[in-house]
Symmetry: C2
Subunit: 187 residues, 2 copies
DNA sequence: TGGCAGCGTTTAAGATACTTGTCAATATCG
DNA sequence: CGATATTGACAAGTATCTTAAACGCTGCCA
């Protein structure tokens, strides 16, 4: 988990020199040199100063440190989506959640969701920390987020913090199809 | 941005004492006491040890430190999507990129994209660090990512690291509609 | 060729984080 | 009530990070 290595790649991606970044952050070039060689582990305060000068948030910075890739698979045929089992969302086969790729290996989770008429995720779905967004492809759905309720038609969308209680309910006669994304993935 | 305060709340939420956490993390109770009073800013190495003992990831830890909400807007009618101007992607009005909400305020950017027949983003689109995924709603599109090329039809999807060179090309006779997401947002 | 400007690295001195040991305060039990 | 245990906070020493000032290197231009 070399944070120095990560800092270097971030800095170089911005085209900054150690001295330039040091000046902006109120530190010295020597400090940055040592950190980038993983010869010292900066205090959170120092790291925050550096990232503010980039600029980049701490969570962004660490989000990419904690990953590791290998065999790249970029494309997924419609049939290759993995159906999230009923046990995962506790709604048996009332609704279909089809996930694109292996979310555990990415910072982005994309779903092709189908809600049959009457499907309802229930009232109390407090959950994971993440952001969640989607666009309605066809059908009609009623979404409740915290204290707000809204009916969305094809072409409409939503975007909220997943920590807020939320509920999806298909109030139409036809299946409702939604393409949604959330980040970071929930397991 | 009191990370000490945050550490205390996380520790207490787990029902751990300073000494107990210190033992697991290989540090001392005094250290934790000072950090939690914001009298010292721990090194990243120390903080990582503490979080490993909780356990919690660094990005999770900071994700909650860096939040601040105000006026929540969760729903967007089809007409409320903001069309990303031609200058943003340099392709004039060949294709339509309609963004859901204000991506600058979120860690998730969702787009409703329409590629007219023949539209082509061009061969060399190296870019931003992020992950990018999408599902084809209608039409047909050819996507090239690094050295891989693939033709996707309705229902198919893609998922890749935005830093890789990538290209989208509508090779059909009808417009191609894609719903895509990327994180973190690009500006 | 010499001189300058920029880069990243290194080293000794100074500042800060961390340890060790101790303290008062609050339980809990006989 | 007194004894014991556990908790979080504090003071003095040690380890570590950070600074300041150098070093060697590269590219540029006269």
């Amino acid at each position: 988990m070399e944070i120095g290595t990560r800092l270097r790649s971030v800095r170089e991606a911005r085209g900054l020199s150690q001295r330039e970044l040091a000046a902006r952050a109120g530190l010295t070039n020597g400090t940055i040199s040592l950190i980038e060689q993983n010869k010292s582990s900066p205090s959170v305060a120092s790291l925050k100063s550096l990232l503010d000068a980039i600029p980049m948030s701490l969570s962004e910075f660490f989000a990419e440190v904690e990953e590791a890739d290998a065999a790249p698979k970029y494309f997924y045929a419609a049939g290759e989506f993995t159906e999230l089992g009923p046990s995962d969302h506790g709604l048996d086969d009332l609704l279909s959640l089809r996930q694109l790729g292996n979310a555990a290996r990415h910072s982005l989770q994309m779903l092709h969701e189908t809600y049959p008429p009457g499907a309802d995720t229930g009232p109390d779905m407090l959950s994971h920390e993440a952001e969640e967004a989607g666009i309605v492809i066809s059908g009609i759905i009623e979404i409740t987020v915290r204290d707000q309720r809204r009916v969305l038609n094809a072409g409409d969308g939503y975007l909220f913090d997943s920590r807020l209680p939320h509920r999806f309910r298909n109030i139409g006669d036809a299946p409702c199809v939604i393409v949604s994304a959330c980040t970071p993935p929930t397991f």
